[in-house]
């Protein structure tokens, strides 16, 4: 973590003393490090366990959630089971909320509920207290979901916040915010869009993106990514070589 570093453009080449690259660290980061080190010292888990779990947690994406929605759209009996007992139905797409070594979560938070949209009811999910999120199905939450900006504003001005995501709903549609402040975890089951008749489950899953399952976007044919603006480099490095980019 501490490294010596030299600036290439220092004329005198003086060395900087060893120092952390980050000048400030929050109390919570200190707490996490302290608890983790204590746990490793006491043999609760190893550093290797921690690294593997962190890397796995960061790699889980929303594919299981997309499969769940596609299955509910194509199989009415499954949809009924899903609405009856969400936690149990997740096993049918390979997610066991009670099993910590699979794609489940090692905690008590094993009450999963699906929020079914209709043409006149649109759900959107937030956790105002922290950032509770159905990680076993959707993976890591996006940065904006954890921001105080989203958490404070969605409950107060939901339609304005949704408009910022590009989702404008007519007043006749009821917007229902779910503030997941306890142990239930939620996911939106969007309305199946027009133009997807006779699609396979894979085709349907491809248009059910993470933002659709949080409720800040609607699934549409052709929309297979949560769109983010592309910012071009303002001063791209010009290669001096005639043979293309030196970075290759």
């Amino acid at each position: 973590m501490s490294t010596e570093h030299k600036h290439d453009d220092d004329g005198d080449g003086h060395e900087h003393p060893a120092a952390p690259m980050v000048e400030e660290i929050t109390d919570y980061e200190v707490l996490e490090i302290a608890v983790r080190e204590l746990a490793i010292e006491h043999g609760l888990f190893t550093a290797e366990d921690h690294r593997k779990f962190t890397e796995w947690a960061e790699s889980v994406g929303p594919a299981a959630g997309s499969r769940l929605v596609a299955k509910a759209w194509t199989d009415p009996a499954f949809k009924a089971r899903l609405l009856e007992d969400g936690t149990k139905a997740c096993k049918e797409v390979g997610v066991d909320w009670t099993e910590p070594t699979g794609v489940g979560t090692p905690s008590d938070y094993t009450n999963f509920r699906v929020l079914e949209d209709t043409p006149t009811l649109h759900h959107v999910i937030v956790c105002t207290l922290c950032s509770c999120y159905p990680r076993p199905l959707l993976g890591m939450s996006p940065e904006w979901y954890r921001s105080t900006n989203y958490r404070r504003r969605l409950v107060r001005w939901p339609r304005e916040v949704l408009t910022e995501f590009g989702l404008v709903l007519p007043p006749e549609v009821e917007v229902r915010i779910e503030d997941s402040n306890q142990k239930c975890r939620f996911m939106v089951l969007p309305v199946r869009p027009k133009g997807t008749e006779n699609w396979t489950e894979e085709q349907l899953a491809a248009i059910v993106t993470r933002d659709c399952m949080i409720g800040v976007a609607l699934p549409q044919p052709g929309r297979t990514e949560d769109v983010h603006p592309i910012h071009k480099a303002r001063r791209p490095v010009q290669s001096s070589s005639q043979h293309g980019s030196a970075a290759e």
């Binding site: 009450n111 509920r113 207290l129 409950v155 917007v175 503030d179 402040n181 306890q182 142990k183």
Partner: protein
Amino acid sequence: MQKDKTVKNDDGHTPARFKVGDRVQVKDMPNIFYTRTQNYVRGAIGTIAARTYQDLIPEDEAFNYDGRLEQYYIVRFRQKDLWEEYPFDSDTLQTELPDRWLEPVRS
């Protein structure tokens, strides 16, 4: 990591006072250090939308206290009842609260 929840009382549960459709009001109880009952719902009147599970209240569980298991409910509010001058009539908000944070409302 499932914790063992040792419960003091014989049956271990506080009776669930509400069923789906009941009108309830969120109490504004003092909380020391920790709560999961948001300020913005305190005093608001809503409707029971679902019964979820029984568990310790967050205020006990956070401090590792034993206690009775209580029924948790999803409560639905009209946005117009939560926020002044909220312009859309049909919008609602749901959140989850344990039994003791709710009081019955006479219709």
